[in-house]
C-alpha cells in the first residue's frame, strides 16, 4: 500500500519537472504581448481601475484623488521598498499590477527580461513636456518602455545636534570607525544592494558600477563591518527614524529627507548632503507591465503625471526634482533653488548613475545579503 503512495508522489514529481522543463518559469508575464506589440490606446482612454505598484510616500494623495475624479476610475496603490523586491514580485508572474516605478538600471533589466509593455505615444501626448536631458536616457534611448517620473540624489541625512555643525561631509560618517563609532547604534542605511554597496565602493574610490570581484568584496567587507554600527537597514523608514531620534545619521533619498524636514518644528536641526567622495543620481520611471490588466488606463495615468500642473504638484509634495520642463514654472521656488534637490554643475560632476551590470548584478545581491548578516 505504501508503494502506491510513493509511486504517486514520484509521478507527480516527474510531472512537475516535465512541465516547462529546461525553460525559465513563465507566468503570464512571459507569454503575453511580445516586444513590438504595443497596446493601441487613445489619449484619455480607460479600461478599468488602475493598479499602481510604487515606492512608499511617492505620490500626493490629492493627486491620486484628482486622477480618480478626472477619469472616473479607482487607483489602488501597493508599495515596495526596493527595485529588487518589485522585480521579484513581477517576475513570479501573475503579479496583477498595471504601472510600476522602476529606477534607471532596473528599467534596462526589465526590458531585457521582457517584462514591460511598449508604450503607445499617441496616448501620451504630454511626453513633449519632458526636459531635453531626459529624452534619451542610456537605459531606454527612445523612451519606448518608460517615461521619467522623478529624479534625485542619494546621500546622508544628519541630526546636527549629534554630529555638530561642521561635520565631515563624507561616507566616513558610516564607514570610518573613527568618525562613526561615537554614533554606533544610531545609523541607518538603505536596504538596497546597489545603493549601499555603491556607497562603500565610492568611499573606497571605485566606480559605483564596478564589475570587479575584488572591489566588490572589499566594499562588502566594509559594509559588513558597518552593520555592527547600524540600528537598522531601511528603505522607507530612514527619515522617520531620523526625526524620531532613533538615528542621527541616515542613508536615504533627497526628497524623503526634505519632505520630513519641512514638517518638523525646527528644520534647522537637520541637514542633507551628498558626500564629497561621490554619490548616486537616479531617475525613477513609470513603466507598464507586459501583462497589465488595464493598459489603457495605465497610459492615461502616465500622461496625467506628465501634465505640467500635475508634475509640479507631484514635486511640490515629494520634494524630489521633476524631469518635466513644463512643470517648472509651477514648482515652488524653494525647491527649484535648493542645490541639494536640483544639483548644480559642481555637484553633478560628483554624481554617478547606477547602471545595470548584466550578469554581475547577482553578485551585488549576494554580497549584500552576506554583509547584512
Amino acid at each position: 500500500m505504501r508503494t502506491r503512495w510513493i509511486t504517486l508522489l514520484a509521478l507527480l514529481t516527474l510531472m512537475a519537472a516535465a512541465c516547462n522543463s529546461g525553460s525559465p518559469i513563465e507566468g503570464p508575464a512571459g507569454d503575453t504581448p511580445a516586444e513590438g506589440d504595443a497596446a493601441a490606446c487613445e489619449e484619455g482612454e480607460t479600461d478599468g481601475d488602475l493598479l499602481l505598484y510604487n515606492w512608499s510616500e511617492y505620490i500626493d494623495p490629492e493627486l491620486v484623488e484628482a486622477f480618480e475624479s478626472e477619469h472616473g476610475v479607482t487607483l489602488t496603490e501597493d508599495f515596495y521598498p526596493s527595485n529588487e523586491e518589485m522585480l521579484a514580485r513581477v517576475q513570479s508572474g501573475a503579479s496583477g499590477y498595471d504601472v510600476v516605478v522602476p529606477s534607471d538600471y532596473m528599467v534596462s533589466i526589465m526590458i531585457e527580461e521582457e517584462l514591460l509593455l511598449p508604450l503607445d505615444r499617441d496616448a501620451i501626448p504630454n511626453w513633449e513636456n519632458i526636459s531635453d536631458q531626459f529624452l534619451a536616457p542610456p537605459y531606454d534611448p527612445d523612451l519606448e518602455f518608460s517615461m521619467p517620473y522623478q529624479w534625485g540624489t542619494t546621500g546622508l541625512g544628519v541630526n546636527l545636534d549629534a554630529v555638530g555643525e561642521d561635520y565631515e561631509p563624507s561616507w566616513g560618517l558610516v564607514f570610518d570607525a573613527d568618525l562613526a563609532d561615537e554614533h554606533a547604534g544610531r545609523i541607518s542605511m538603505l536596504d538596497d544592494p546597489r545603493e549601499t554597496l555603491g556607497a562603500a565602493l565610492v568611499y573606497l574610490g571605485y566606480s559605483i558600477n564596478s564589475t570587479s570581484e575584488d572591489e566588490l568584496a572589499e566594499a562588502a567587507e566594509l559594509v559588513a563591518e558597518a552593520t555592527g554600527r547600524l540600528a537598522a537597514y531601511s528603505s522607507d523608514q530612514y527619515s522617520d527614524l531620523l526625526m524620531a531620534g532613533e538615528t542621527v545619521i541616515a542613508h536615504g533619498y533627497s526628497g524623503g529627507f526634505f519632505a520630513a524636514y519641512d514638517e518638523a518644528e525646527n528644520p534647522d536641526q537637520w541637514d542633507y548632503f551628498v558626500p564629497a567622495e561621490g554619490g548616486t543620481i537616479w531617475t525613477d520611471n513609470m513603466a507598464i507591465l507586459g501583462d497589465a490588466p488595464h493598459p489603457c488606463t495605465a497610459h492615461t495615468f502616465i500622461n496625467f503625471i506628465l501634465d505640467a500642473e500635475n508634475g509640479a504638484a507631484l514635486t511640490n509634495w515629494t520634494y524630489y526634482a521633476s524631469p518635466n520642463a513644463a512643470a517648472e514654472e509651477n514648482i515652488i521656488s524653494e525647491i527649484l533653488e535648493d542645490p541639494a534637490i536640483y544639483p548644480d554643475d559642481e555637484l553633478m560632476a560628483n554624481l554617478q548613475f547606477i547602471e545595470d551590470t548584466g550578469d554581475f548584478e547577482i553578485q551585488y545581491q549576494d554580497h549584500f545579503s552576506r554583509a547584512k548578516g
Partner: protein, 276 residues
C-alpha cells in the same frame, strides 16, 4: 479538582507565586494598555505625547486602504472558516470513528499543517499558485492572478487541520455508548448523526471554528505571499504600515482590532458557559 488545603503552597512560596502571577499579568496587559493610550496621541511621532485627540480614528475611518483591507480580511476569514470547519469536522469524524485504507497516511497529513512553519507554508503556496497559473495559462488559456481566492484557499489549507484536531479531541472524550444507544433508537445513520453526535460535538466544532477564524484574521506571512494588488488584508496592511513608518494611525487601527478580537473571545466564552 482543586488542590486541598493541605497541599496548597504556603507562606513564602505562596506569596512568591502570587507576586509572579501579578507580574505576568502586568506583562501581558501593560503593552496593550499603552498601545491603546497612544492611539489618542495628537503628535505624529508615536513616542512623544503632545495631547489627546481623536484625529487618527477620524483618519482611519476615512482611509480607503484601511476599510478596504478590513473588508478583505472579513471576506477571507468567513469563507475560510466555514469551509475549513465543514471539511475539518468531516475529517475528524472520519479519522476518529472509522477504519479505512489510507487512514494512517491521512492521519499524518492532517497534522503537518500545524507543525509547518508559516514561512514554509507561504513559500509552498506561492510556488503552487505560480505553477498552477502558468499551467492553466498554457493549457486552457485562462489566466488568474493572486488575490482573495488564493488567500482563502491557503487559509483553508491550514485551518482544516486545526479544526480537525479540536473536533477530534472532543470526539475522543465522548462515550461511544451514547451513539450505540442512539443507533438502536433511530432509523438511519444520518439521524443518529444529526440528533446525537452533532449536538455532542458542537462545542468542539464551534471551538474549532473560532480557532480557524482567529488564525485567519491573524495571518501575515502566508497572506502577504499569496495576495495581489487590492487584496491586502488588515494585518498585512498594518504590517506594511509598521515597516514603512509608524504613526499613531497604526495604534488606532490596532486598538480597533484588539477590541474586536476581545469582544469575540468574551462572546464565545460566555456562549460556551451557557451551553454547559
Amino acid at each position: 479538582m482543586s488542590a486541598p488545603e493541605v497541599t496548597r503552597p504556603r507562606g513564602l512560596v505562596e506569596r512568591a507565586l502570587e507576586a509572579n502571577t501579578w507580574l505576568v499579568f502586568a506583562f501581558f496587559y501593560a503593552p496593550i494598555v499603552l498601545l491603546v493610550i497612544l492611539s489618542f496621541n495628537d503628535n505624529r511621532v508615536v513616542g512623544t505625547w503632545t495631547g489627546a485627540s481623536l484625529r487618527w480614528y477620524r483618519e482611519m475611518v476615512g482611509n480607503r486602504a484601511v476599510i478596504g483591507s478590513l473588508q478583505n480580511s472579513l471576506i477571507v476569514a468567513s469563507i475560510s472558516t466555514i469551509v475549513a470547519t465543514v471539511l475539518g469536522t468531516a475529517t475528524a469524524l472520519a479519522l476518529e470513528r472509522f477504519r479505512f485504507r489510507g487512514r494512517g497516511v491521512f492521519d499524518g497529513l492532517v497534522y503537518l499543517p500545524v507543525i509547518i512553519p508559516d514561512v514554509t507554508m507561504a513559500v509552498m503556496m506561492l510556488l503552487f499558485f505560480a505553477r498552477a497559473a502558468a499551467l492553466m495559462h498554457s493549457s486552457i488559456g485562462v489566466s488568474f492572478g493572486l488575490g482573495i481566492p488564493t488567500i482563502a484557499l491557503s487559509h483553508v489549507a491550514f485551518n482544516i487541520s486545526f479544526v480537525a484536531i479540536v473536533v477530534r479531541a472532543r470526539l475522543g472524550g465522548l462515550d461511544p455508548a451514547l451513539e450505540e444507544a442512539a443507533a438502536d433508537l433511530y432509523a438511519g445513520r444520518w439521524q443518529v448523526f444529526r440528533h446525537v453526535t452533532l449536538p455532542l460535538i458542537m462545542p468542539g466544532v464551534l471551538g474549532g471554528a473560532l480557532l480557524a477564524l482567529t488564525l485567519s484574521l491573524d495571518d501575515v506571512v502566508i497572506t502577504s505571499f499569496v495576495s495581489g494588488p487590492g487584496s491586502t488584508t488588515l494585518p498585512v496592511y498594518v504590517f506594511g504600515l509598521v515597516r514603512r513608518g509608524v504613526t499613531p494611525l497604526v495604534n488606532a487601527v490596532s486598538t480597533v482590532m484588539l477590541l474586536a478580537s476581545m469582544l469575540l473571545v468574551l462572546f464565545s466564552l460566555l456562549a460556551q458557559r451557557r451551553a454547559q
